[in-house]
């Protein structure tokens, strides 16, 4: 069972963002970056499958130099090797362009499964997985909350809306997008961190993948970022803990009348 896991490095969820002067991205200097939450669950699912069925887990990311940390973290947790799509031409791809880049990088490998997280916590598009599956002509299943490997296929529990689920069976090879909560992602062990240093991170450029400017030109252009206008006027209660609690009870009782 050879599995590729797609990972994305994103700003930590508690980040405070300052929009850049050109208003098309945020200042990254003071941000703390981490691996996208649902991607961690995808990696853990792959490592669990490897533990039961053998084979290799390859992790792959696309991003600036800092994104290599996400690959190192995954290698320390037990992935076997890493593929790093790194090229200035990969800056500001739209989802379709990113799918083309990953497709070019993974097309010649014969993975039984490609796993990725449900969506990235930064841009929140949730498109890369299904788009890549299309580019690679693989079946795909989104919102996977349980997997069971069978002979030549995989049984999946998929989350639907409002507490509904369904089971599906997909032919292998296939691509799955993993919902958070499917497993308990591990932490890297000290041994894993030592072993990581001997593992390969292969860096590939657009030219290595024979990708042209046309392949990567976005069809979706980010024009401007801004802080959303508030729809509600929040009353912030200030003071010592005892003071804010007293204010809140008073407001809930007499202003909102909900006590």
């Amino acid at each position: 069972m050879n599995i590729c896991v797609l990972l994305k490095q994103v700003p930590d969820q508690g980040s405070v963002f300052t929009i850049d002067s050109d208003e098309t991205w945020v200042q990254e200097d003071n941000l703390v970056f981490t691996t996208n939450e649902s991607d961690n669950y995808a990696l853990e699912e792959a490592l669990l499958m490897k533990a039961s069925k053998g084979g290799e887990v390859v992790v792959c990311t696309l991003g600036p130099d800092r994104a290599s940390q996400t690959l190192k973290d995954a290698l320390a947790k037990g992935a076997d090797r890493a593929l790093f799509l790194r090229d200035d031409a990969f800056d500001r791809l739209d989802s379709l362009g990113a799918a083309r880049a990953f497709a070019a990088a993974l097309r010649d490998d014969s993975f039984d499964l490609i796993l990725c997280g449900l969506q990235a916590d930064d841009t929140g598009e949730g498109q890369l997985g299904p788009m890549l599956a299309e580019q690679l002509s693989l079946p795909h299943v989104t919102l996977v909350v349980q997997t069971e490997l069978l002979d030549g296929c995989i049984k999946i529990k998929q989350e639907l809306e409002g507490g509904w689920f369904r089971h599906l069976e997909a032919d292998l090879p296939a691509l799955l997008t993993i919902q958070s909560g499917i497993n308990k992602p591990r932490y890297a062990s000290l041994k894993g961190i030592m072993a990581m240093k001997r593992k390969e991170i292969k860096q590939v450029s657009a030219a290595d993948l024979s990708l042209t400017t046309g392949d990567l030109t976005p069809h979706q252009i980010l024009k401007r970022l801004y802080v959303p206008a508030k729809t509600k006027e929040t009353q912030f209660l200030e003071g010592s803990p005892d003071e804010v609690v007293a204010q809140l009870v008073e407001k809930l009782a007499n202003e909102a009348k909900v006590l």
Partner: protein, 323 residues
């Protein structure tokens, strides 16, 4: 004059609210751009009742028997055929789990952009779509290259009760799906834990997020809920970590609530959570991160350590209610 198609998701003829909301956006855009508007319905012989009184140019029925139940591969093949026949400028849909499953793949097949989870648009010569990024902390204006754009709208971005009335004509389109092989074979839908906790009718909800830090700290919010006669709800991470059962979860993958009082504790308020609770009456947020998106929609905000506030609040509520 171009054409706008809106995909109408339904379950056994019952139209998804998200589709009606997308239809509201479509009505506005069709008027502003002088485009025609069609609602596309898969797998039904006659139009759903909810569409027949609405201002649409037509309801386009694709009744093929393969489309009775949703399968991603049949839906993509069918919509591909509809787009080839109709050449729309826009394909609009609600940003549902089903849409997330098949629209990106359709976009990839057509090599056209999908602008997903939009909250609005602006018109100024061309269409600018508005999306939220960084979990709702920043808005992004997005434009697409000339040609078809596929756009999905966040739940609640438009109001379905504002739909304009009218009387659409009905047209049937037959598509040939005999060549589609299913590589993903779906089973029946089922529900888990149904009816154990119904938050949708709760008048008061105390909802807890990952800020609580550990399952061992949950007694703090349970005590607060008890003091308020409130149900206990949660954000997704709390369920993912196994601290509470799934039937406590509020948000796009859990329950949608509209409580008179929604008191959130240690919840940052990602979009996925907000869509499940933002229609509540009075929203209180207690969070130590002053920039947490939950404060965008809160009536009362307390920026503080929840462990300092919650026990005091429980005591104060008890005293106020004389219990």
């Amino acid at each position: 004059m171009g054409k706008i198609l809106t995909f109408i998701q339904h379950q056994d003829g019952q139209v998804s609210r998200n589709s009606l909301e997308a239809l509201k956006a479509a009505q506005e855009l069709a008027t502003a751009l002088s485009h025609s508007l069609a609602g596309v319905v898969f797998g039904l012989e006659s139009p759903p009742e909810q569409l027949t009184g609405l201002k649409l140019d037509e309801v386009l029925l694709v009744p093929a028997s393969e489309l009775k139940e949703y399968t991603q591969e049949q839906y993509i093949a069918a919509m591909n055929a509809v787009i080839a026949a109709e050449s729309p400028e826009l394909l609009l849909a609600g940003h549902t789990y089903q849409a997330r499953d098949w629209l990106p793949r359709l976009a990839s097949r057509l090599e056209r952009p999908l602008v997903s989870d939009c909250v609005g648009y602006q018109l100024d010569g061309q269409i600018t779509w508005v999306r939220q990024i960084f979990q709702g902390k920043i808005n992004a204006d997005v434009q697409t290259t000339p040609g078809l754009a596929i756009v999905s709208f966040q739940s609640g971005a438009f109001r379905s009760d504002d739909l304009e009335p009218g009387s659409p004509t009905v047209r049937t389109l037959s598509v040939d799906l005999s060549g589609v092989t299913l590589h993903v074979r779906p089973g029946d839908r089922f529900q888990e834990g149904k009816g154990t906790v119904d938050l949708s009718h709760a008048e008061r909800i105390v909802s807890v997020g990952r800020g609580i830090g550990d399952a061992d700290n949950l007694h703090l919010v349970r005590d607060l809920a008890a003091a308020l006669d409130a149900e206990l709800g949660s954000s997704r991470p709390v369920v993912d970590y196994g601290w509470l059962d799934h039937d406590r979860q509020v948000g796009s993958s859990g329950q949608t609530v509209s409580a008179k009082l929604y008191l959130s504790v240690g919840i940052s308020g990602a979009i996925q959570h907000q869509v499940g609770m933002k229609n509540s009456g009075c929203i209180v947020a207690i969070n130590k991160d002053a920039n947490a998106p939950i404060f965008e929609i809160a009536d009362y905000g307390i920026v503080a350590d929840l462990f300092e506030i919650v026990p005091r609040l429980t005591a104060a509520i008890k005293e106020h209610r004389g219990t």
